[in-house]
Symmetry: C2
Subunit: 330 residues, 2 copies
């Protein structure tokens, strides 16, 4: 291996912390600096010799950082930071607002091309490894259907939606895949599944004192887009119970494709990929770090502009040489 | 999409037949000719207008075929055909003699580079998609262990080994993964598993009339490399029963990695990939065809020499454009 890859982290929430930890598992990379929009003194990287700097000092590090890993959110941070940082660094991000990916890709692509950098967008597990499996499964089994199931795990978007209901103090929402639906897919039935048939939504709600729980439950269950199309279960619990039993960051899911092969297309083949994660942010961070290695290498080879996981040769994710990979893993 | 990709098949056994069928599922590709070492008149492609030619006519097709898919065996056919055909065509093959991959890679690489072709070797599901998952899983979870389980499915090598025992007329051997071992892996135990703990070998044997079945059973169960290290079950059945109940080409398997993340490496994440195939050769053929598309495109871009699944950007497997992939599958 050549010189150590110098990495920066932009944003130090759960994902940024996960990147810090993941970098320590990859001896070919090192953390050079953390950039934050919070007061730098409240941010504590694992190694206290790593400088924490305000985001507006980032341009001073252009010669000191090979890849910047963006750990901000898709709603507010990345639409601005993605293109801005891709103008200064090779970047990795986990942009996951599906409808806006084309627009975001284009913005990062322009910035990265102009400055000769490489920006891999929408990295993580979904979008990310799940996307990769949807692509490969469809390419090798063109006559078939792909199903993505998520969970069991917390959906931040749905938890936030519950918190906006009047009388709700706090809430956590779990997305749970319906086992029966998964088994029908695995049996090669290629079922038409409604939203309701694929996932259950289970909510743990802390109500404000004196709030009308029946009304809250009804408002949640009938909320359009978020809950109305699902079987939704609502439990009212205390704040203490929420903290104690519902702070896990576990998540996971399944990509399953069932496809037909053969001259008469009467042979069934099932392709399945799944993740069971005790920590969603730590695993996502680990994926970002592997793609940071790829971004560094692709940029060295002159591959500039925005890319996604679809564009990265898998060998670039590993610190091993081609010969090692062929010998040990092929 | 540009012009249709013109494909040749070299070798028309079960795998070649599968490629023929798979090409019909991919409208951006067409079968131009089949090459065989058997008398051409005994080989019948799905479309009877497709010419079947003796292997030594292959050089006449250099301008008519964009990618040659090699469907011969790894023991005898590919070591010779791989480099020979890579000197004339872009190639795809399913070379699976693990110990000889470095040597084979090098031979195909030399031939392909000299002639400006692209040869993707060891394509299929293992080696192939399983290798890809071993690589990605290890890259994203560096602290962990990867386990590959095969089956339930027929092992040709083990079936052949039984057929070489004196007094055996015919035989089929199934490799069966041990569910308990898989569940320990899925539970994140990272167990040290012996060969015996991972797979069971179940044999269906047709004995010659008057043969000593006890001796045959003992010879099978104590056969070094093939059976001695396993729990082996031997059933004696009739030739009719073998034909009727044991002609399935089903196979499959699992790649599971359990890896730790977090600052204290105390968070467990499970990565699992599995295939459940009603037809091993048809599915393998489908993978070959997707990689044929990639070989064609990579060659157009000037990427010459031998490659493996590790080197191919996944987007190259799909007929969809980058924008379509980002919109539909990311």
């Amino acid at each position: 291996m050549s010189a150590v890859i110098r990495v920066g982290i932009a944003g130090y929430g759960n994902l940024g912390k996960g990147v810090d930890a993941a970098l320590k598992q990859n001896p070919d990379m090192e953390l050079v600096a953390v950039f934050t929009r919070r007061p730098p003194n409240v941010v504590k990287p694992l190694d206290d010799t790593v400088p924490v700097l305000p985001m507006d000092k980032v341009q001073d590090y252009q010669d000191k950082i090979d890849v910047m890993i963006l750990c901000g959110g898709s709603a507010k941070d990345l639409p601005q930071q993605g293109p801005e940082l891709a103008a200064m660094f090779n970047t990795i991000d986990s942009f996951d607002t599906h409808a806006k990916i084309p627009e975001y890709f284009s913005a990062v692509d322009n910035a990265a091309r102009m400055s000769g950098h490489t920006g891999i967008i929408s990295v993580g597990w979904d979008p990310g490894l799940f996307s990769l499996n949807r692509l490969i499964a469809e390419a090798v089994l063109p006559d078939g259907a792909t199903y993505t199931f998520w969970g069991k795990g917390v959906s931040q978007g749905h938890s936030d939606a519950i918190r906006r209901v009047a009388g709700v103090k706090n809430a956590i929402q779990y997305t749970i895949p319906v086992e029966e639906a998964m088994n029908r897919v695995r049996a090669g039935e290629n079922p038409e599944l409604t939203t309701r048939e694929k996932h259950i939504r289970e909510c743990f709600v802390v109500a404000e004192e004196g709030a009308d729980k029946a009304r809250i439950e009804n408002e949640i269950k009938t909320m359009p887009n978020y809950f109305a199309d699902y079987d939704t279960i609502v439990h009212f619990i205390s704040e203490e119970e929420l903290k104690m039993n519902h702070s896990s960051m576990a998540h996971g899911g399944f990509v399953i494709r069932s496809g037909k092969t053969g001259a008469n297309k009467d042979t069934t083949n099932i392709y399945e990929f799944s993740l069971k994660l005790e920590s969603n942010p730590e695993f996502s961070a680990s994926v970002l770090v592997a793609y940071a290695r790829a971004a560094y290498r692709l940029n060295k080879e002159g591959k500039v502009g925005a890319l996604t996981v679809f564009d990265v040769p898998p060998a670039y994710l590993s610190p091993k040489t081609g010969a090692e990979l062929r010998k040990e893993l092929l």
